[in-house]
Amino acid sequence: MLDILVVFLLVCGLVFFAGGAVGIIRFPDFYSRLHPAGKLDTMGSLLMMLALALFNLHHFSLANILTSVKIILIVVFVFISSPTAIHGIVDAGVRAGLAPWVKGDKRR
């Protein structure tokens, strides 16, 4: 039962990561590429880390609980830091004067 849940969460995380990678390649300009880079990678790492932390609790002991809590704390750190990093890149683009893509422009 636990294995089915772990495999389901792993596949969901891989789907989110795949969407993020395809979005980073296919979107037309710099500002729209930040959307998959910021959101889908964060969600994918949440689902995959949750699956790995659950699988780590197979043998129930104090050391394994500590390792699972550490994995969840990595997710908390990614949830704080990844949107901040993406916001820093947006700020760099705006201050450097990069114009956003409008409909009808050439893809960049």
Partner: protein, 93 residues
């Protein structure tokens, strides 16, 4: 269960190759930084997968935490550095 982790790690590495395309051929410097950030956030998950495969996850979880912090600080420092470079972006328009 081992083979599931192995194949999801291989698939994750293939997705990192897709992000590497943007990091290599991106038209501006900031596009390359997006590609590098995406590769870093995939690497954090891949490190814990490798730790489960080698059954040393208590060691690899610390490496993954350090890598996540390093990725965050590198992207912030690089974006603070490149926001003064106006000529780099306007030449691309």
């Amino acid at each position: 269960m081992r083979s599931v982790f192995l194949y999801s790690g291989i698939f994750l590495s293939c997705l990192m190759v897709l992000s590497l395309y943007r990091a290599v051929f991106g038209p501006t410097v900031l596009d390359r930084m997006i590609g590098a950030n995406a590769i870093g956030s995939k690497t954090v998950v891949l490190l814990i997968l490798i730790g489960l495969l080698y059954e040393r996850v208590d060691m690899f979880v610390d490496i993954a935490l350090a890598y996540a912090m390093l990725n965050f600080i590198a992207v912030l420092a690089a974006s603070r550095y490149f926001q003064k470079r106006k000529g780099l972006l306007e030449k691309m328009k």
